[in-house]
């Protein structure tokens, strides 16, 4: 789990061009949206692309994504659950 979280942080920073952030800056449990990190609706769509490309997981709508994308940990949990 922790390994997946670390990997996800790097991938999210890369995919979303969060150049000012390093993985240590992202708290795995902190909200990604409407928060300090301040991701928006386009970022959510980019995470959908990331999950499909890297993990083969399809998310069909922004609404579905919103529930999954609360924090890096919730994304990791979702990936593990889908991969079982």
């Amino acid at each position: 789990m922790e390994e997946l979280i670390s990997k996800l942080k790097v991938q999210i920073i890369e995919q979303l061009n969060l150049e000012d952030l390093s993985p240590e800056d992202i708290d795995a449990d902190a909200p990604l949206f409407d928060s300090e990190i301040g991701l928006d609706s386009i970022d959510a769509l980019e995470i959908i692309v990331l999950l499909e490309r890297e993990y083969g997981i399809k998310i069909n709508s922004q609404e579905e994504g919103k529930k999954v994308f609360h924090s890096v940990r919730s994304i990791a949990e979702y990936i593990l659950q889908k991969q079982q």
Partner: protein
């Protein structure tokens, strides 16, 4: 202030190649949006211009072959709009404005094909070529590339240039095609609807992409059928590059700029893309403006979202409604979302129509609005 009139027009979409054909189909409630299969996306609902009919129209109007489909469609549209008018497009008092979002973008992967057609990806060259295909002179075309408000903005700019005395007449043409480029993009944005689009309906779930072309000729001469361009404005939400304002601030700013509330508005032709957020923003805006009882529609249920042509096609249809005193229902609409009630037309309505609004909103946070009225 100089008066500006709409002298002539033409519409090209899945519903036909003339304004008259469109009007017949609008009155009949016919949609040109159809389900098709795309190699990457799968099932997708789009509104396409019929190539067979286009080729016949090109022959009739002697549109040169050595040009892209988009350029030929635009040249045809201008020629058809001007048929019988004896307008000399070489006359330097006639200007040309072209609106498009992506022009010849489908040739991005095969530039060689463009060279063979003496065409270019550069939008200014595209506009010059269209103008010369119609017999236009050395006037430098203005190319408006401002997302989905481009078409309406082009009309507003034309009106302003006439009032400023730059031109006596302006030919305003807008065109965009369905391309892999744009389809895959809207799909990546999860913005495509799962069926023909349902603007303002509670069950709407996204746009239907459309293609089309339209032309309006603006003039300061008063001896025409008598629809007047009254005023228009453009604003920016300054909120988000792709999401509409959550408070409809940009739409409110535009309407407050051009309408003081004294002369009633009889009809609103809204942007109505059928995405959840756009239509909710517009409903909120018109509601906050106290316009919840003004009959409103979106024409996108008929021919989808035609991007750079949308504002022009929808303006012409709205103006036609005013000429005919017949409001057209908002196709695809069934049940209202209750947050901000507005009067979406569920059926066609015969009523006196003297003054109308056309509004558009687009990516980049832009909004445009214009008022047209019967000339009395």
């Amino acid at each position: 202030m100089k008066k500006v009139y709409l002298q002539a027009d033409n519409m090209v979409s899945s519903l036909g190649l003339t304004t008259r054909e469109h009007w017949v189909n609008l009155v009949a409630g016919k949609s040109g949006i159809k389900e098709t299969s795309h190699k990457r996306i799968g099932s997708v609902w789009v509104s396409e211009v019929d190539n067979h009919n286009l080729e016949k129209a090109f022959l009739k109007y002697e549109i040169p072959e050595k040009a892209t489909r988009l350029e030929r469609m635009a040249a045809y549209s201008i020629k058809e709009a001007l048929e019988g008018s004896n307008l000399d497009l070489k006359d330097p008092t006639t200007g040309f404005i072209f609106s498009t979002t992506k022009g010849n973008v489908d040739f991005l992967k095969t530039r060689e094909a463009l060279n063979e057609l003496d065409s270019s990806l550069a939008l200014h060259s595209t506009a010059k070529k269209i103008w010369s295909m119609c017999g236009g002179g050395n006037q430098n075309p203005v190319v408006v590339c401002n997302a989905c408000i481009s078409g309406l903005m082009a009309i507003i700019i034309g009106g302003r240039l006439i009032r400023q005395g730059v031109y006596d007449r302006v030919v305003v043409c807008g065109a965009d095609e369905i391309s892999d480029f744009v389809l895959t993009g809207f799909n990546a944005l999860k913005a495509l609807g799962s069926s023909a689009c349902k603007p303002f309906d509670a069950k709407r779930d996204g746009i239907s992409l459309g293609e089309g072309c339209a032309t309006v000729v603006l003039t300061r001469d008063a001896n025409f059928e008598g629809i007047e361009y009254v005023d228009g404005a453009v604003s920016n939400d300054a909120n988000h590059i792709s999401g509409p304002s959550r408070t409809a601030s940009g739409l409110l700013q535009v309407v407050e700029q051009i309408w003081d509330g004294t002369e009633p508005i009889d009809f609103i032709s809204a942007h109505g893309t059928a995405t959840i957020y756009n239509d909710a923003m517009e409903a909120q805006g018109f509601n906050r403006l106290g316009m919840e009882d003004v009959p409103l529609n979106s024409f996108k249920g008929f021919w989808g979202h035609t991007l750079g042509a949308a504002g022009l096609l929808e303006t012409i249809a709205a103006v036609q409604s005013m000429k005919e005193d017949l409001l057209i229902k908002s196709l695809g609409f069934d049940e209202l979302e209750d947050a901000f009630p507005v009067s979406v037309l569920k059926s066609n309505r015969m009523t006196e129509v003297n003054q109308i609004f056309k509004t558009s909103s687009g990516f980049g946070g832009c909004n445009a609005g214009a008022i047209f009225k019967k000339n009395d």
